[in-house]
């Protein structure tokens, strides 16, 4: 461990968790969120030299992405699903992608987080550790509101567990104010799969619309297990239900604009999948 005037640099997870449990520290991955309004008195726990947080590997079920892997590393890894690569391709610009991490994106808990949207739609799970143990939770359960998570003050996000299957057939669109270095004004990700004419996977996530990323599992359930013909007959009803469910907040762009984009993309997603 190296102690700096503004924090601690550690090279293994055990030590990191120990410091995390003993001191009031702010985890620091790439710093691209933290440094925008840096606090003078903050004490940081630097995560970028912890090997357990820097690897990407897979097991039977999941691609496991270390929380402190940079976007560039994730993008360049062959295990990374294309939908995640697409989101990285439109995220910030190369300099930020070389520093920023998926873990930071998740823990910053912004509804505008581009990779968090992908983890949402993909049913990813988060592996969270503390000196006294670990827990694994679905990403949706991690958030309590804008900028708020269930992360305890002695915990670190260690890995993101992305399901290996069912991500091939996807729809992704990010709408920013410009082509690069643009925070999402609306982002949409959808997954769709069928087996023998039956819809097996139908998921949609909406970013930058409300205080957290939105997913409506009850509405998705209307389609799962249905035939394409059944889905077609339910289409108008589904659209009407989403139209009610999505209530954008006004931000840098109007709620009306956000709503129009969400509904247009949702319909296009259905169209593209023959519904």
């Amino acid at each position: 461990m190296v102690a700096f005037s503004n924090g601690y640099l550690v090279d293994n997870l055990t030590e990191a968790l120990k410091i995390r449990s003993e001191f009031e520290v702010t985890p620091y991955a790439g710093g691209t969120d933290l440094m925008v309004e840096a606090k003078d008195d903050a004490v940081y726990l630097f995560l970028n030299k912890i090997p357990e947080l820097r690897r990407i590997y897979s097991d039977d079920e999941y691609i496991r992405i270390g929380a402190a892997c940079t976007y560039t590393e994730i993008f360049e890894n062959t295990l990374t699903p294309q939908i995640l690569k697409d989101s990285i391709d439109y995220l910030a610009a190369p300099a930020i992608r070389n520093m920023g991490t998926a873990g930071g994106n998740i823990c910053n808990a912004s509804p505008k987080a581009d990779t968090a949207l992908i983890f949402y739609v993909a049913d990813a799970k988060l592996r969270i550790c503390s000196a006294s143990g670990e827990r694994i939770l679905p990403i949706e359960d991690f958030y309590v509101g804008r900028g708020k998570t269930v992360l305890q003050r002695d915990e670190l996000l260690v890995e993101i567990l992305v399901p290996k299957f069912g991500l091939e057939h996807y729809y992704y669109k990010k709408v920013g104010a410009r082509q690069a270095l643009a925070i999402s004004r609306v982002a949409f990700a959808g997954l769709f799969s069928t087996e023998n004419g039956i819809i097996t996977r139908f998921a949609m996530a909406f970013g930058s619309v409300a205080d957290t990323i939105l997913r409506f599992r009850d509405l998705e359930a209307l389609f799962v297990g249905k035939t394409m013909t059944e889905a077609k007959s339910l289409r108008d009803d589904l659209i009407a239900k989403y139209d009610q469910a999505i209530v954008p907040i006004r931000g840098r762009v109007s709620a009306d604009y956000r709503k129009s984009v969400c509904m247009n993309l949702l319909e296009d997603f259905l169209n593209q999948n023959g519904i």
Binding site: V36, A93, K173, V175, A177, R178, Q179, A180, L181, A182, I183, R185, V186, R252, V253, S254, D256, Y257, S260, V261, N264, L265, D268
Partner: protein
């Protein structure tokens, strides 16, 4: 291409790109104090009281009572105070400065100061202003008959928004006071403007004020007037404290209180008879903000440009610049031109539709040519290369064919292509060069035969040092390395005028060329020699009369033809810029890479103005988006296919045939972009910036 156009590395290239260049904020000065300005948080109020905490030793508060001369900053007029005179007129107006050793302590003190305001209702809408700062108007031909006899009269309203400069280096100055002399150094376009202003505020003689320009990281017009204000403030602070005082704005502060492009509202009428536009009538309002700064001249240029590049026989143009309780607006690349050029270009597009012509056809038919009278009854004395430029534009963009193909579209994506034809009048507006500036340059030959060019011209990244050196080196026939150009210091350089108005190369460069020619004739190796050269007004010009608003406002014009192609995604209302093509006549490019750099950057800036650069002021007069995450400018990714070409049309009164270049490219981007959007969406549009949200509104309306 002439040999002088062959590009060389810019003089500031390696220092800046390597990080070695020292900007004002990098300077280490013994005993330096940091100053921070307390700014008004309300838009319109009288100050009842200012509660200041006890100050620690070595910390100072500087306000209007500390101004030794006049508490006013000379720009064109003198209404801007150095520090608030007891009223505040916009959010961000300087009330006082706190200065001391430690910036953190300064900031703490600043937070503890309480200002008790007696608030008044601010005027935020320029149309509701009852204070007209400036007003001009002119007519040509018989505009009344044209409208009386018209088959049809078309009327439309146009609106353009703010634009923030977004120079990379924020505003910053250091003032010091030594032996009865005020020394000001910092980032600035016009050292002698600062000099004049500081002299007056301090009540000093000329030789007791010295102004030094430090390395500059961009300006775009934003450092034409504001440095005079900041210069006076640091001068007063140094005088009071007896120590050098540095003030560097932070970005949010800079966006809040530095000048921007004037928002404008414009009402246009056209008389149509037998399928021709027989008269035009423009009524223009520019929003000055709370003080006048450069507004009279900005408005003048705006009015001169109001009928565009077309030969209207009958016209009337009127305009006023009004006060609102918002940040004072000032110079910005194009200087009043982009607003009216946007309107006339869009109006021409709409008139063409009325007449049943493609807009380019109408524009081509009406475009001015050499010998035509200008709108202000001056003359286009020189060749206007539009026909060749439009042909070239078609070659590189294929706009004629695309117009046809984009006519009737369905489906998710809609394409459009827009064309604009614009000019920028080169040099100071009206008789400014002759009556106000009277530029002087000095060329010194040292005993080692190096030659130093002494002018007040500043290099803000636009390449002035490089082109000045090239002009001297080519004229004298000596290697470039033998030519010295340093940042100006008013103790050393004569007043060659401000670095503004696309005048430096054409006017000051010409003076340098003439001085160099004289030196060459009289060259005495190993001897110290000096040549001083003074401005001579071109005799072909029809004298400018401001009271009548008539005559030649500029000796010559730079021209551009622009095309922008868009592809609109109807689901998201986002727009991809498929291509942007610009063809420019800036006379002889004195350095091709510099010119292409200027054209590309300016064009992109113009497209930003037309599309995404939205600055919002809320109902309390506060700029809502004073940060880079919220004020969006285009990046190179937004217009990856940006093609710029020049046609060479030499201007004999400029050095090696060069004329104004810097501002021209920022003028034509917005109308070309917005016409492309019209073309794609199939509706008439009337404002900048035309944003994603605006496009969505149109798309939603079309659905219904």
């Amino acid at each position: 291409m002439q040999s002088i156009s062959k590009s060389i590395p810019k003089r500031d290239h390696f220092p800046k790109i390597s990080g070695r260049a020292k900007y004002v904020d990098d300077l280490q000065i013994e005993g330096l104090l940091h100053g921070k300005i307390l700014r008004s948080s309300v838009a319109c109020a009288e100050i009842n009281e200012i509660l200041i905490p006890d100050l620690p030793n070595g910390y100072f508060v500087i306000d209007k009572n500390d101004v030794p001369g006049v508490n006013s900053v000379h720009v064109v007029d003198d209404d801007t105070p150095v520090f608030s005179d007891g009223t505040v007129n916009y959010v961000g107006e300087a009330i006082l400065m706190v200065a001391g050793r430690d910036l953190k302590v300064v900031n703490q003190i600043l937070k503890q100061i309480k200002v008790i305001y007696h608030e008044k209702q601010p005027v935020l809408d320029m149309m509701k202003s009852d204070t007209i700062f400036y007003q001009y108007g002119y007519t040509k031909g018989d505009w009344e008959s044209a409208f009386r006899d018209a088959d049809k009269i078309i009327e439309e309203d146009f609106q353009t928004g703010y634009q923030e400069h977004v120079y990379m280096e924020v505003q910053g100055m250091i003032g010091s006071y030594e032996n009865g002399k005020a020394i000001i150094r910092g980032t600035m376009q016009c050292p002698y403007y600062v000099h004049t202003a500081v002299k007056r505020a301090m009540g000093f003689e000329s030789d007791k004020v010295q102004v030094i320009q430090e390395e500059m990281g961009g300006a775009f017009g934003g450092k034409e007037d504001y440095p005079s204000i900041l210069g006076c403030q640091v001068a007063v602070a140094a005088y009071k404290t007896g120590k050098p005082v540095k003030v560097i704005l932070d970005r949010n502060e800079d966006i809040t209180c530095s000048p921007k492009r004037h928002p404008a509202k414009m009402h246009y009428r056209a008389a149509i008879k037998n399928g021709e536009v027989t008269g035009i009538d423009a009524d223009v309002v520019y929003d000055c903000g709370a003080f006048t700064t450069l507004s009279p001249v900005v408005l003048q240029r705006g009015l001169i440009c109001a009928t565009g590049v077309y030969d209207f026989k009958n016209l009337r143009v009127r305009g006023k610049a009004v006060k609102t309780n918002t940040v004072p607006n000032g110079a910005f690349r194009g200087f009043g031109g982009p607003q009216t050029f946007f309107s006339i270009e869009m109006f021409m597009d709409h008139l063409a539709k009325e007449i049943g012509l493609d807009s380019v056809r109408l524009k081509e038919r009406m475009v001015v040519k050499q010998g035509d009278d200008s709108a202000t009854s001056g003359k286009y004395h020189f060749h206007v290369p539009f026909p060749a430029m439009i042909e070239k534009l078609d070659q590189i963009s294929g706009f004629r064919k695309k117009r046809e193909t984009f006519r009737h579209q369905t489906g998710r994506y809609r394409s459009g292509i827009g064309i604009s034809l614009v000019y920028h009048g080169c040099g100071f507006t009206g008789s400014g060069e002759r009556d106000l500036i009277k530029g002087v340059v000095k060329v010194v030959k040292n005993t080692d035969d190096t030659v130093e060019l002494l002018t007040a011209g500043t290099d803000m990244g636009q390449g002035l040092k490089t082109v000045f050196a090239k002009i001297a080196s080519d004229t004298l026939g000596i290697p470039l390395e033998q030519v010295i150009v340093q940042n100006p210091d008013t103790d050393r350089v004569p007043n060659s005028g401000p670095t503004a108005a696309s005048r430096s190369l054409m006017v000051v460069g010409k003076l340098l060329q003439r001085a160099a020619e004289k030196l060459k004739q009289d060259w005495k190796p190993g001897e110290y020699q000096e040549v001083v050269e003074k401005y001579v007004h071109p005799d072909f010009m029809i004298p400018w009369d401001l009271s009548k608003f008539q005559g030649d406002p500029y000796p010559d014009y730079s021209w551009s033809a622009n095309a922008v192609e868009v592809k609109v995604d109807t689901l998201t209302a986002t727009t991809e810029i498929v291509g942007a093509w610009g063809v420019y006549d800036v006379g002889t490019p004195i350095d091709m890479a510099i010119i292409i750099g200027q054209m590309q950057g300016g064009f992109l800036q113009g497209i930003g103005y037309g599309s995404m650069e939205l600055l919002g002021v809320n109902e309390k007069g506060v700029i809502r988006n004073n940060s880079f995450s919220d004020y969006i400018i285009p990046t190179s990714m937004d217009v990856p296919n940006l093609v710029t070409e020049v046609v060479e049309n030499t201007y004999d009164n400029g050095p090696f045939g060069g004329k104004g270049a810097g501002e021209l490219p920022a003028v034509g981007g917005a109308p070309a972009f917005v016409e492309a959007m019209e073309n794609a969406l199939g509706v008439n549009l009337h404002h900048t910036p035309f944003s994603q949200e605006d496009a969505m509104k149109v798309l939603e309306a079309l659905k219904k």
